[in-house]
């Protein structure tokens, strides 16, 4: 894979008031997750360097509501019925990366942030 530097990749809903750099693109792990600290919140970042729609990044809350443990960033990335999802590593429930909704427990929803790759920086949108 090449290492583009000036490319800007935005998640589908990437509209935000302020963009906050969180970490470097080199901190991301292809097709898997890492976790960043954002003023007391834990943000799991997933990177798909070449998905169907090109390069994509997602930012989703790291706390698994079922166990209460901060583990979502260590889950497995997958696609179910077209939706990109992350499977929690402890009890394997799935959360949609796009909006944080849980497939098995529709009443649960994880927070998601707009996120983009701006050159070398991974930036999340905050209100």
């Amino acid at each position: 894979m090449s290492q583009p530097t000036a490319v800007r990749v935005e998640s589908p809903s990437a509209r935000a008031a302020h963009w906050r750099p969180l970490c470097s693109r080199r901190d991301l792990v292809a097709n898997s997750g890492v976790v960043a600290w954002l003023d007391g919140e834990q943000v799991a970042l997933f990177h798909l360097p070449d998905s169907e729609t090109g390069e994509q990044v997602f930012a989703i809350a790291n706390k698994d509501p079922k166990s209460g443990a901060n583990v979502i960033g260590r889950g497995l990335l997958g696609q179910l019925k077209g939706d990109l999802v992350i499977a929690s590593p402890l009890y394997k429930q799935h959360f949609r990366l796009a909006d944080g909704g849980c497939l098995e427990y529709p009443e649960q929803r994880l927070k998601v942030w707009p996120v983009r790759l701006n050159g070398d920086a991974v930036e999340v949108g905050i209100e």
Binding site: D27, V34, S67, Q79, V85, A87, P89, L90, R109
Partner: protein
């Protein structure tokens, strides 16, 4: 005249009570389109939107109000229902057809009462504050949690269903729990005397005090604990808090004040349409009295709600004609079930009883006077009989010739009721009233996925008790229609694992992407196919699992080469081949555990597990272990775990071969091999079998002449004895047979299939296996051995591999942009070591506590 502006929503509907039944009522109204026509107002006294009261106790087990909620926060608004939460209805003004609340008056055309019930607290002098707690709402549980702070002992008054559940909750809060019951047995409503006695024995064995035939007279200040309960017989019991669970009373205050007719024992009297004495007012759920009876379970409440919703929608409706009060529960981890006439009260009925005092199990089967049908049953200790018995009772199925077989311990030939024996009218899910016929309809309509079936019928989404039966019926109906129960790995691969293995080998495929592109669907895969393919690639080509291409395929345990625990920390299990360890290495383990404050335990596999490390600590810990000569134990992998050994001929007076030496050799040979599931070995030095080799995937037992080889044994959920594959082997032949056996398993087993299950699925059975392994009937032996040799030759400790590579180590960071540990991980000291804090203990932990 302005008559043209009349709203289309002409009718006003008011629902009082947003509990489980009130919510179900709204759901039903939405589903039937009533909310489109009517203006609907929903009043609930509790602050939270409707939640799953049945699973209330999980609030102490870590679930929060949000995850217990029965709908999403915007559900009511989205469907045009005006929800007034935290608003109590104070009065019903029937003359003006209005309800009165602190918000003002709300007119109605029709009114539904769903006010549920409240806990009954007997009038006992001195019961107040922490000596007068109850167990019904989230707020009640918060009050109990607050009272438990600093308390040592808690008492529950009432030994019924809810009382025992409350006792369990007190236990989970770390209190010494006691149950005080007025009747001479536990669960007096559901159980007979023997059943109550068996339950008492089980519950006492769990350390919960049980005090029967005790009437509390007064509560006074205690000497050793906060309170003292004085009983009528002169005895007393001291405690720091008291939870009353002495029954519930229907919440009929509004109806009473409004002059509606009540049931003889309370509750708003309703007819078969759930209408009260005022035709504009309905009552459903626990506040309603039908035929004088109040039903304290969700299923009858839900069926009342459906009856009313159908009427409001102008649809044909099934009348409510009573309900089955059969229940199955796990109380304090003990199975308890009660069906129909559990006490054998029907004149002329006969009972069969099974009592096992050793394990405090009890079962009673009550049959009709003519001996032809089941009319009731009691189960204590094992609910696996419940589904079958309930179907016999509900559907009047004719008893088998020997009815006692229905409650005798399940042997191979016990009569289980097949899914085909059930009539179409048989209720599968009583919470959502789903019959076998309804399941069949869905199957006919083309549903072939269990998840879809649940979504379409809602079956198994209430109490969950019917899940096993639902699956059984569903799969039976599928195969009856010639639909092959889908064996695809997942939605991305229409192949079995076995077929994929063949493809990978034959086509020489080296990556997941390549396999997906050539033989799968989509672009990403999922948490089912990725690890399965990862394992196939690893056993075929033995690339290190730390390879960047493999990382995204694996579960967290494989990715970080440690086992994730419930709080997100990891356990570390270094290999201790054969269970043999030098004192120096033992000291290193102790030192490392001490330095990182890791909980330390001897495992069931003759090695040592160190628990509680955070992600970023793993490389440092492994650096120290590897420097001292340890290597990974693959406790996280679907791979060789341990080779258990006994001391054998070296020390033991009976030993005939060097079992430790052989165990070490085998463990070192096969360590790191990736397989469909984990593999365990054992080697015993003589037939006394101290290493329990016959319960392992591969078992080796010494003989005078060499070794006997056993295969496909299993402990765990479904124990299976290993079978003798070959006898009196010399060392070299033994190893060759094991090579062949393991590789044949790796090639042909399904995903997550242990050798025992695989062996049972092999057509031709043990004889076939002997032909392949011993007689080499497939002419595969040389290839299998060569493949194994490749794996052995390319072995490398994964942790050593990772530690060499800065890039790989970057993944072991709790936060990529911050060096702090995860601040939400908390520990508590217990028996000199730390363990994860329970949710209920979190409030005890000062916020500033240092974590690492």
């Amino acid at each position: 005249m302005n008559s043209i502006v009349t709203s289309i929503k002409s009718e006003r509907l008011v629902i009082v009570g947003n509990g489980m039944v009130g919510h179900h009522c709204v759901e039903q109204l939405i589903e039937r389109g009533v909310t489109g026509r009517c203006e609907v107002h929903l009043f609930g006294e509790e602050r939270q939107r409707a939640y799953d009261r049945v699973h209330l106790s999980e609030y102490f087990g870590g679930r929060d109000a949000d995850s217990l909620a029965l709908c999403e926060a915007d559900y009511y608004a989205r469907h045009g229902v005006q929800a007034h939460l935290g608003v109590q209805v104070l009065q019903i003004d029937r003359a003006r057809r209005e309800v009165v609340t602190c918000e003002g008056r709300q007119p109605y055309d029709r009114l539904i009462l769903a006010t549920g019930s409240y806990p009954f607290v007997p009038p006992i002098a001195g019961a107040e504050g922490n000596s007068r707690l109850v167990y019904r709402t989230l707020d009640d549980l918060d009050a109990i949690r607050a009272a438990a702070q600093g308390a040592r002992r808690g008492v529950v008054v009432g030994g019924g269903l809810l009382g025992l559940e409350a006792a369990n909750a007190l236990k989970s809060l770390g209190l010494e729990a006691h149950v005080v019951e007025f009747a001479p047995r536990l669960m007096p409503v559901q159980l007979d005397a023997e059943g109550g006695a068996a339950l008492k024995a089980r519950i006492e064995a769990l350390g919960v005090g049980v005090h029967l035939s005790r009437a509390t007279q007064e509560i006074v200040i205690g000497e050793e604990y906060a309170y003292r309960m004085n009983f009528q017989d002169g005895e007393f019991l001291e405690t720091d808090l008291i939870v009353f669970s002495a029954g519930i009373r229907p919440q009929d205050a509004l109806a009473r004040a409004a002059g509606l007719e009540l049931g003889a024992r309370g509750g708003v009297a309703v007819d078969n349409d759930c209408r009260t004495s005022d035709p504009a007012i309905y009552a459903v759920g626990e506040c309603a009295a039908w035929n004088g009876s109040v039903f304290g379970l969700v299923a009858p409440g839900y069926s009342m709600a459906r009856t009313v919703a159908a009427q409001l929608a102008g649809e044909a409706h099934a009348p409510f004609t009573g309900a089955d009060m059969s229940t199955k529960l796990k109380l304090l981890g003990v199975d308890v079930g009660s069906i129909g006439d559990a006490q054998g009260a029907t004149p002329g009925s006969k009972s069969y009883r099974f009592i096992d005092e050793a394990s405090a199990s009890y079962r009673r089967l009550v049959v009709s006077p003519d001996g032809k049908t089941v009319i009731g049953a009691v189960l204590v200790g094992d609910n696996s009989y419940y589904d079958t018995l309930l179907q016999y009772a509900q559907n009047g199925i004719r008893l088998p010739a020997e009815p006692s077989g229905l409650i005798l311990p399940v042997g191979e030939g016990a009569p289980a009721l097949g899914a085909d024996a059930l009539p179409d009218t048989a209720t599968i899910c009583s919470c959502h009233n789903v019959s076998k016929g309804a399941v069949c309809c869905q199957v006919d309509a083309g549903v072939i996925d269990l998840g879809e079936l649940k979504a379409a019928t809602k079956a198994a989404t209430g109490c969950g008790g019917c899940a096993a039966l639902l699956k059984q019926v569903f799969e039976h109906e599928l195969s009856a229609r010639g639909v092959e129960v889908d064996k695809s790995l997942c939605e991305h691969f229409a192949h079995t694992r076995q077929a994929l293995y063949g493809i990978v080998r034959v086509e020489g495929i080296r990556s997941f992407e390549e396999l997906l592109a050539r033989h799968g669907r989509g672009h990403v895969g999922c948490d089912i196919c990725k690890p399965a393919v990862g394992s196939i690639l690893a056993s075929c080509w033995n690339q290190p699992i730390t390879d960047p291409a493999l990382i995204p395929l694996q579960d967290t345990n494989d990715t970080f080469m440690a086992n994730m625990q419930k709080n997100g920390t990891y356990s570390i299990v270094p290999r201790i081949a054969g269970g043999e360890i030098t004192p120096d290495k033992l000291i290193v383990l102790g030192e490392v555990a001490k330095k990182y404050d890791l909980y330390t335990k001897i495992t069931g596999g003759q090695r040592i597990d160190l628990f509680g490390a955070q992600l970023h600590q793993l490389p440092d810990i492994w650096g120290e272990l590897i420097a001292a000569g340890f290597e990974t134990g693959h406790a996280y992998g679907k791979s060789l775990r341990t080779v258990k050994s006994c001391v054998g001929s070296t020390w033991c007076r009976y030993g005939v071969q060097d079992s430790v030496g052989m165990a070490l050799f085998l463990e070192n040979r096969y360590k790191g091999l990736r397989a469909p599931h984990k593999i365990k070995f054992a080697v015993s030095g003589c037939t006394r079998e101290c290493a329990e080799a016959q319960s392992k995937d591969v078992g080796v037992i010494a003989t005078d002449k060499g070794w006997n080889l056993y295969v496909a044994g299993n402990g765990g959920m479904r124990p299976r004895h290993a079978e003798l594959l070959a006898t009196d082997l010399d060392d070299e032949t033994l190893v060759r047979y094991i090579d062949r056996f393991l590789m044949f398993y790796v090639r042909t087993a399904d995903r997550l299939q242990r050798t025992s299950v695989w062996r049972e699925s092999l057509e031709g059975g043990l004889d076939y296996l002997k032909e392949v392994i011993v007689a080499d009937s497939l002419n595969l032996a040389a290839e299998l051995e060569a493949q194994m040799q490749h794996v052995v030759d390319t072995y490398e400790c994964e942790w050593a591999n990772a530690l060499k590579d800065e890039e790989k180590l970057k993944r072991f960071r709790t936060f990529v942009n911050d060096a702090r540990p995860d601040p939400d991980i908390h520990f508590v000291k217990e028996r000199g070591q730390r363990r994860p804090a329970r949710a209920s203990e979190l409030h005890l932990i000062p916020v500033a506590e240092e974590v690492v």
